[in-house]
Structure formats: C-alpha cells, structure tokens
Symmetry: C2
Subunit: 165 residues, 2 copies
DNA sequence: TATTGTTATACTCTATAACTATA
DNA sequence: TATAGTTATAGAGTATAACAATA
C-alpha cells in the first residue's frame, strides 16, 4: 500500500490530523526513491532482486545463509537468486576451506563493474530528486533522514557500524 | 540496489563528496518505509503487488487499462492480478454500460475494510519511524519530503491534484 | 544430531504475442 | 481498423518440505 501515488492516510477525517502530511510525504518519497532504483536496474536489464543482491555484495562476501539473512529470503530462494546471477556471470560461489558444506558468494569483476555503475546512477538519480531544494534544505533533509534511519535501526536492534561483515 | 542497508555511494572516495549523506540517507529511509509496508502486507498475507492494488483502488474505480497504467504493468499482468484479488474476494469487475468491452474494477466491502486497516497500520508504522524526532523536526521532514515529491512529480509531468480519477 | 546448502514443488508476478469481442 | 481485455506461454522470484553432505 502507498507504493503508488495514493495517500494511505487521506480521507479518514477522524481526529485533528496528527502526522497526515508526514506519513504521506514519507510514503511517496519512498516510492520516488524506489522508482529511481527500479529504473536504473531495468536499464541494466536487472530485476530489483538482482539489483538488491549486487548492492548487498558490494562490500560483503557472505555465505548463503548470511546472504539469505541480509536479503530476508529463505535459503532456497537465495539458491535460485545466486544461480541466476551466476549464470549471468555477475557472482561466483567460492569454497571456504574451513567448512566443506559452505562457501562464500562474491562479485565477479564483471559484477563489480556493473554494481559500481548502478550505484553511481542511483546516486545521481536520487540526488536529482532533490534538485528543487536549496543546499541548506538538502543538508537538513540528509540530517533528518539519517536520524530516522539510525533510530529505526536501533529500535530493531541492528548495529549500523557493522555493515561490512 | 541500496534497498537493504548498504550504501550505494560509500567508499568511492572520488571528489569532495557532494551529497553523499543525502543519497545514502534517502535510499535507506526509502528502504525503511518499504519495509514497513512489506511487513504490514505480509501480516495480512498479501503480496506487495496486491497491497499496491488495494492502495490504488482506495479512491478509484479504474478500467483495466487505467489500472495497468496506474500500476505501471502490462494489461495482461493486470488481468492476473485482478483475477487473484477477485478470487480472494477483495475486488470486483463491474460492467460499464457505455462500452461493452470495458468495465471498472472496485473494492468489495471486504476489500475496503482490509484496505483501510492496512492503511492505518502503515500510517502508524511510518509515523513510528519518526519517533525519535521532535515535533518541529517531524514538521520539517514532512515539508521537505512533500517538496521533493512535488518537484519530482512536476519534473515527470504528473498532475498531483488529479489523484482521484 | 545439527548445520549448510540444494532439489522438488507450487504459487505469485510479470511480460510478449496472439486472440476475441466490441467500437 | 482500433481498442479493451483475456489467454497462452515462459521465466523470475518466493516459500515449504524433503533431502544430501558435512560437522
């Protein structure tokens, strides 16, 4: 819900609207950012799932189980995702000597090139969203977004300082 | 990309970082909002696609073609989506007298109840994201998000005042 | 026995192409 | 002919359950 242009809190008319503009604004802002990512991914003929995978592998070489955790997928879903990415030459499975059952997933050179390209495009696209803001407002928005993200991460017990595991 | 907790612009070290914090902040904020929606949808045993459908139908009774346009799907994809939603008793196809080929899609009573429930939960969840902010900061964030959304909509030629068509 | 990862299976979601019915 | 919608088909993405190999 609220992923298109609709307004999840509109037209309820219950109380003195508490954070009506806030919720709508955040939902629609989120949709706009997602749209940028989706467009960039589609431009490289990638699904959102594959794009997310590349993003996660940008600074990690996780095991399948860790990868599934990072993407919040079942391990069997991760198997399929990696199979398809491997077929496209974007990632590799590399044996880990310590454990004969496990291996690490990492980007190939081709995968890394593509990942950096996409990251650049996403950065440009997202930055372009704020074209209409003054530099001061952009700073303010960055600050507020950062605080929300940190607060949320803390609230759900995620340590942000440990992103490169 | 950037849909998880990663940082699409981190560790490039090219220039005096322009909007590094801004882009990362927005991408991660977007991910947090999407996660709220996804959690709420999953709680009602709905896919994101079905949740988006309900959101779009909240204040519209579009034709299939219009619906496909709103969801940015192929018309055949819309057919399947509506088929499944109809099977679950959430939406109905209603003949339009003026054109024997066409009809309108609308929420059933059950679908509307569920939609309003989900909208409430999403609103609460998204509002909770900003728990850590002062009231003044929440207002500021709402204002900035709104400006970005309007600017983006304008940039891609969308009229925001016509959401209830 | 427990863990790591894959396979088998079944759905949902999506697009392309071909089709039907109506305009 | 053109438009509205469906059907046929194919592939990606996802989950559950059962499995094999290793620890």
């Amino acid at each position: 819900m609220g992923v298109q242009g609709e307004s999840p809190t509109t037209s309820r008319g219950v109380q003195p609207p508490p954070n009506l503009g806030l919720v709508d604004g955040l939902v629609q802002l989120s949709a706009a950012v997602q749209a940028v990512v989706a467009r960039v991914a589609a431009g490289a003929d990638l699904s959102m799932a594959q794009a997310r995978l590349l993003g996660v592998l940008r600074d990690r070489q996780p095991s399948m189980a860790q990868l599934a955790g990072l993407l919040e997928l079942d391990k069997s879903s991760a198997t399929g995702l990696i199979d398809r990415a491997e077929r496209r030459g974007l990632v590799r499975r590399v044996d880990v000597p310590e454990d004969g059952r496990s291996f690490r997933v990492l980007l190939t050179a081709k995968g890394r090139r593509l990942t950096e390209e996409l990251a650049d495009e996403v950065a440009r696209g997202v930055a372009a969203l704020t074209d209409g803001l003054s530099e001061a407002d952009r700073r303010k928005l960055a600050h507020l977004a950062g605080r929300v993200v940190v607060h949320d991460a803390t609230a759900r017990g995620i340590d942000l300082s440990t992103s490169t595991n």
